[in-house]
């Protein structure tokens, strides 16, 4: 396997555009070096956050390419993004039809190879339906579609998606969904908790993880989880919509940045 960090070149300041977004958003400044990775961004009929993800990653100095759901070759990528939207109109269940798209078999192989896959919103729902992540996303408990900023408490800062932050850090990232209530059976939940596979939890502005700050009824305020091997992340909030101060914040960039920043310098 050619790992992403082998392929990538060390990025000096010259590789990055000198925009405000190019400065590290890291909550753990000075960790590792940034590399340029090639991200494949999946596009299903009904996906709508693909361009936002592409824009955010390009602004962060990364190479991107959009991958139509009928394509099956994803080997050329270092990491994959399954973006948000309403793939196949959310018919039957969110993500239920997309998971049988031709590209998904390749995504499973990609994940089994240990390469990074991030599923955002509808992408999280698709990864759950595909069995790459446990549990299911159900209708929000209040039945409303919620589009609002949330505070995410970092629960595990030793993953390839969160090592630029520190545990208990708060990342301000918006949600935009009607079916984001994370549910799983008791055994699955305790397995997730015991093995620190809950990466992000919805919290209050002071880090309170309470029902009051739970925007959708998710068990234990769960906002994002990783798979057993730690290379597949699913999260309902949209980090790509929090990568530019112009639209309200750039904490989301810490999550993407973690994917292309070397982990070896972790203290």
């Amino acid at each position: 396997m050619t790992g992403p960090f082998v392929l990538c070149r060390l990025a000096g300041v010259d590789y990055f555009p000198k925009s405000i977004n190019s400065r590290p958003v890291s909550h753990r400044p000075g960790v590792g070096y940034d590399f340029v990775m090639k991200f494949g961004i999946l596009v299903f009929p009904g996906t709508w956050s693909d361009r936002d993800c592409g824009h955010a990653l390009e602004t962060l100095g990364q190479e991107i390419e959009y991958v139509w759901h009928a394509d099956t070759d994803v080997d050329r990528f270092d990491a994959l993004v399954v973006p948000g939207g309403f793939s196949y109109g959310d018919y039957l269940r969110a993500g239920a039809i997309a998971r049988f798209s031709p590209v998904m078999e390749s995504v499973s192989k990609f994940a089994v190879d240990g390469r990074g896959v991030i599923g955002i919103c509808n992408g999280f729902q698709i990864l759950c339906e595909a069995g790459l992540l446990p549990g299911a996303l159900m209708r929000n408990d209040h039945l409303e579609f919620r589009c609002t900023w949330t505070d995410l408490r970092v629960e595990n800062d030793r993953t390839m998606f969160s090592h630029t932050a520190r545990s208990r850090d708060l990342l301000r990232v918006p949600i935009s969904h009607g079916e984001g209530s994370y549910q799983a059976d008791e055994d699955t939940i305790s397995e997730l908790e015991e093995n620190e596979r809950v990466v992000f939890r919805y919290s209050g502005p002071a880090g309170e993880v309470t029902p009051e700050w739970n925007p959708n009824g998710s068990v234990n305020n769960i906002a994002g989880i990783i798979n057993k091997t730690g290379n597949v992340l699913g999260m309902m909030p949209h980090p790509e919509r929090a990568c530019d101060p112009l639209i309200g914040g750039e904490d989301g960039a810490a999550i993407f940045r973690a994917m292309f920043t070397e982990m070896s310098a972790l203290g």
Binding site: A96, A136, S181
Partner: protein
Amino acid sequence: MFVATVRVTLKPTVNDPQGLTIARALATLGFDSVDSVRAGKFIEITLDESDRVVAEKQVNEMCEKLLANPVIERYNFDLNPA
């Protein structure tokens, strides 16, 4: 030809916010006898298949693979000649 009528419902242990909301609405309308409501999906499938056993097997597979999510849902179906 057979027609399969498939019902997909949430497992009894899974919270059903839609059902709860419908129950509240019914109570507001004065239907005091409503104890609980569970909402689900109804799917009708016409099959071009003459063998009942084969048709039943196929519908089962459809439910397992696509129509129901075993994590949160369960299903049952009737099979009648079209």
